[in-house]
């Protein structure tokens, strides 16, 4: 009779996954688990497939057969077909065509069909699908069925995938079942109620009375369900929480019963009486006792009792202890009890079992904000866990170590953290790096230490740091003026050893360019003297430029650095000239553009080169116009758009003022290249050093660039004039050129334009020609706006003008309703 499907397979290939009774002879007699033969035949066929392709073939055939049989009327084998389909679904093949079959099976009067039908519904249906609406009625009928197992199927399905609508419809039924006499149904109804409350919060009120009365149950399953339900109700509604505070004595009584009762075979798990129920009650007590003196007082004794009497040699005991500790630490407990709790965690931390150590650190993490000193006592052990071989333990230990860093221990902690960084698993590296940056920023004992630490991180994990690290570090370096020489030497050496870590290379290039003179002078006291020649420095930069490991942004940094060196060295300017001209034909457009600009600077405006490439002023953190383009963009986006009637006209962030393109204007005629995307890596170098001078220079060139379209003034206030001209590009496309000028006696800086158009119109703002308007109209700012009006709606544009004059900010808005040169295209 042993028609078991796998009797012929040697058992050593598939050893028992778990065995309480190894004395069993391994003969398979599934009396209780009757094999559903057609399903098993299919599984065997699938398993005998030798290749993925063969398997697909078998499954396609099976699915076709299943589909065909679904279409037939009742044939007795329907439940097998659905079971087969669920197996296919598990393997990842499409099974959605079984959805309607589930609905039909659920409506069947036979238990076996209902059973698999409900299982299928839970696996294949999504509450958002229409098919799930079709089962609402079946569930309703089955909830009122006379057989508890049919009721249970309906409850289980509702708890798994009941939509809000379904929950509203069926909540009264569930409330009725909560008051049933059958404990098997009651425990399921309780969990079903939890799901309903999660879906429809206001139904919580309905279940509160029944939940309260379930606490007097003797059956542990029902009690457990009741506690879960009460936790849910209390977390949803503070008033309910207040009411359930009255149940604390009952809960304490139930817990006492569990802790003090002798051995009860039914609920015993390795010597602990129903640890699952204990854990759940302790959780509820935590919620009830939080921020409430009275409730906390009522449970203090119990918690002390559990904390001292629970056997901590087994996992189950530790599970209860762990929960007790969390409750003690979360409620307003007595100080003695808190000490006891922290001590238990300390003991956990020394446990050999990694699971226990892991949860010890998880709980210490929770209290590190409130009981910082208590956690600080375990710092040594926690830091040791950084060296554990288990990635999960490492992760916890890292979190906790970062939280424990303070001004007094920063040096020793950082040593450990940097050591950790060099050997940590890749998935933790970026988190560790940013944690270290934050800690260093907060507690750095000196600027030099701070720079050293950041460089160390870049050297060990330069590939895993966030993008803003580079500008942050550059800013830090600029501000530490007495360390420029030291830093540039250190970075130069780092660059020689490794040019693969992009962020490190970028910072190094920037510093070599900026402080090249200091590098060459080499009279730095802080490091052992290294004589760097001009050629050495240029070699290093050229290596970066040529390396295939360098990203385009990195190359940009290197090229700009090379250019800057041209004013910081004396002999090798020709070499720089040739490097720059080589990249004038580079395949990378961004780099080519830069090179062409620099070439022009050499050729046409050599007299200005020194001024343009002057050393950067000290960067103020995140002030627009000084940091790179990305930052300014963000700053603009942060301005609440509500100022200009939000919603109707979406206000698009304008491309930030980007002086890089000013350089472009040097090229004169070639308008094609006039709209560069802002290059974050480069703009920081070229930004604003000599922005004013450069713009002056551009002033003369601009009129040549203006389109001959009719120009009308749209705004004139306080000496600032804005004119507009339009050019139709296509049937729907339109280019609007806004030109701003300043006729006052004072310079205007941070001049930006932002534009908004009706929703259906697409707006694209090109980079403006600058953000600086010198006094008395010597220069202009040009802003090109490309509009696409596919629906040909009435075109309107709102423009926000903002600028700074004499250190105070101005802002104004103007609406443009008519566009010259556009023959009422919108009407």
């Amino acid at each position: 009779m042993s028609t078991t499907p796998h009797a012929h397979i040697p058992t050593h290939i598939h050893p028992p996954i778990y065995s309480l009774t190894h004395t069993h002879t391994h003969t398979r007699t599934h009396t209780a688990m009757s094999p559903s033969v057609p399903l098993q035949e299919m599984i065997r066929a699938i398993r005998s497939a030798r290749t993925q392709c063969e398997e697909r073939g078998v499954i396609q055939r099976e699915c076709a057969a299943i589909r065909a049989q679904f279409r037939q009327a009742d044939n007795g084998g329907r439940s097998h077909n659905l079971a087969k389909l669920l197996y296919v679904h598990m393997l990842g093949y499409p099974a959605h065509f079984g959805q309607m079959e589930c609905v039909r099976m659920i409506a069947s009067p036979r238990y076996s069909e209902k059973r698999v039908g409900y299982l299928g519904a839970m696996m294949l249906l999504d509450e958002k699908q229409d098919a799930s609406l079709l089962i609402t009625n079946s569930i309703k009928n089955d909830l009122a069925h006379s057989n508890q197992y049919v009721q249970s199927l309906a409850l289980c399905t509702l708890a798994c995938m009941g939509s809000a609508e379904m929950c509203r419809d069926l909540a009264p039924e569930i409330d009725r079942l909560l008051r049933a006499s059958n404990s098997y149904i009651k425990k399921k109804a309780a969990l079903c109620a939890v799901h309903i409350v999660r879906k429809v919060h206001e139904l919580g009120e309905l279940f509160a009375p029944a939940a309260r009365s379930l606490l007097s149950e003797k059956n542990h399953g029902v009690l457990h369900g009741a506690v879960v339900l009460i936790i849910e109700l209390c977390e949803r509604n503070p008033e309910t929480l207040e009411r359930f505070r009255k149940t604390v004595p009952d809960l304490v009584q139930i817990m006492k019963g569990l802790v003090l009762s002798g051995y009860s075979p039914e609920h015993d798990v390795s010597g602990i009486s129903d640890p699952f129920l204990q854990v759940r009650i302790l959780r509820l007590l935590r919620i009830l006792g939080r921020n409430n003196e009275g409730a906390s007082d009522a449970m203090n004794d119990l918690l002390a009792q559990v904390a001292t009497n629970t056997d901590s040699t087994k996992t189950v005991g530790n599970a209860v202890l762990y929960e007790t500790v969390l409750t003690v630490l979360d409620i307003k407990s007595e100080s003695g009890l808190r000490v006891l709790a922290v001590n238990i965690l300390g003991r956990f931390l020394l446990n050999n079992d990694r699971n226990i150590r892991y949860i010890a650190m998880t709980s210490l993490q929770k209290i590190v904000g409130t009981d910082h000193n208590a956690v600080q006592r375990h710092r040594g052990t926690i830091v040791d866990c950084l060296k554990d071989q288990d990635a999960s333990v490492k992760r916890r230990s890292l979190e906790l170590s970062l939280a424990l860093v303070s001004a007094s221990n920063i040096r020793s902690m950082m040593k450990e953290l940097l050591l950790f960084l060099s050997s940590c698993p890749p998935e933790l590296r970026s988190h560790a790096a940013s944690g270290i940056f934050n800690a260093a920023e907060r507690y750095a004992p000196s600027q030099r230490w701070h720079i050293d630490t950041m460089l160390h991180v870049l050297i060990t994990a330069g590939g895993d740091v966030r993008d803003e690290t580079v500008p942050n570090l550059i800013q830090l370096i600029t501000n530490a003026s007495e360390l420029h020489c030291y830093t540039v030497h250190k970075l130069y050496r780092a660059l020689l050893t490794d040019i693969s870590q992009q962020s490190l290379v970028q910072v190094a290039c920037w510093c070599i360019g900026e402080y090249g003179d200091l590098l060459l002078r080499g009279d730095c006291q802080e490091t052992e003297p290294v004589q760097v020649t001009e050629d050495d420095a240029l070699d290093a930069l050229e290596t970066v430029l040529q390396s295939h490991m360098s990203s385009p942004a990195t190359r940009g940094f290197a090229l700009t650095a090379t250019m800057k060196l041209s004013t910081r060295i004396t002999d090798n300017v020709d070499r720089i000239r040739s490097i720059v001209s080589i990249y004038g034909s580079c395949i990378d457009v961004e780099l080519q553009q830069r090179a062409v600009e620099y070439n022009a600077l050499f050729k046409k405006y050599d007299h200005m080169r020194a001024a343009v490439l002057e050393r950067m002023p000290v960067i103020e953190k995140n002030s627009p116009g000084h940091t790179n383009g990305e930052f300014t963009g963000e700053a603009i986006r942060d301005i609440p758009t509500a100022k200009i009637k939000q919603g109707e006209l979406p206000l698009l962030p304008q491309q930030p003022a980007n002086q890089v393109c000013d350089l472009l204007d040097l090229l004169g005629g070639s308008e094609e290249t006039l709209q560069p995307s802002p290059a974050p890596g480069l703009s920081i170098n070229a930004a604003s050093t000599a922005g004013g001078d450069l713009l002056d220079l551009l002033g003369g060139l601009e009129p040549a660039l203006l389109a001959p379209a009719p120009t009308v003034p749209v705004y004139e206030k306080g000496g600032v004039t804005l004119t507009l001209s339009c050019e139709k590009q296509s049937d729907t496309g339109l280019t609007v050129t806004l030109t701003a000028s300043n006729s006052t006696d004072s310079d205007i800086s941070s001049f930006t334009l932002q534009a908004a158009v009706p929703k259906s119109v697409q707006l694209h703002m090109k980079a403006p020609s600058g953000d600086y308007l010198p006094a008395r109209g010597t220069a202009k700012v040009i802003q090109m706006v490309v509009l696409n009006n596919p629906n040909k709606v009435n075109l309107k544009m709102r423009v926000r003008i903002s600028y700074t004059r004499q250190a105070s900010a101005f802002q104004d808005t103007v609406q443009i309703d008519s566009f010259p040169g556009l023959d009422a295209a919108g009407h």
Partner: protein, 215 residues
């Protein structure tokens, strides 16, 4: 809340998947693959908790797993569950499987996937822990299986019916009273030509354990 329960073998082949939160089919498979990748590279002596899944098990969630011989049992839970509690729950689930299948092995899970689902349904419901008392779980699962079996093929040999009736025939009859099968059984019992079956039924009621076929 338990977000999902995954069982797969040492090669990442899924043996049971259960999601208590909706994911599209392809996503489910991706989750299985990612979870397998995360779990399988861990030694057996490290801890049973894992964070940092990108699809599931990230942010507030954790993967809690146990490895038995050829199978991984992975539960993905949020912070409202006790880590150690779930670890014990996995143990309860596996011990229950062991009781239901008598020395359970991977093949049992493969060929009886539906049965494993039914057992799980008595342990976890809608992502919440339902019952942890093993005896209760096993008893309820058996009663349901019997009820199902008794109606599957009313025309099959009655020996089969007899073999599924074990400890408490009165419970059984009351359970199926409302289904057609009950009428069928009473017909059989009163049929003089089939008295042998009736005797079988009585005999099996005396056995406290599930009978094994003697042949």
């Amino acid at each position: 809340m338990i977000k999902s329960i995954l069982i797969f073998n040492n090669h990442g082949k899924p043996r049971l998947i259960r999601f208590y939160q909706y994911f599209a089919e392809e996503m489910q498979q991706q989750i299985i693959r990612e979870t397998f990748h995360l779990v399988s590279k861990r030694d057996d002596n490290v801890c049973n908790f894992l964070e940092g899944g990108s699809l599931i098990g990230g942010s507030d969630d954790k993967l809690i797993y146990r490895h038995y011989a050829t199978l991984y049992f992975v539960f993905c839970v949020d912070s409202s569950e006790s880590e150690l509690g779930i670890l014990d729950l996995i143990q309860v689930f596996v011990e229950t499987l062991d009781k239901c299948f008598e020395n359970v092995c991977e093949l049992d899970l493969i060929f009886h996937m539906d049965k494993v689902h039914y057992i799980l349904q008595e342990v976890v419901m809608g992502g919440m822990v339902l019952e942890t008392n093993m005896n209760e779980i096993v008893a309820q699962v058996e009663l349901q299986n019997r009820m199902e079996k008794s109606e599957v093929s009313p025309s099959a040999t009655l020996k089969d019916h007899a073999s599924v009736l074990t400890s408490n025939i009165t419970v059984f009859i009351s359970l199926v009273a409302d289904l057609r099968i009950a009428a069928h059984i009473s017909d059989v019992a009163s049929d003089p030509n089939r008295s042998d079956v009736a005797v079988d039924v009585v005999e099996t009621t005396d056995q406290s354990e599930l009978s094994r076929p003697s042949s």
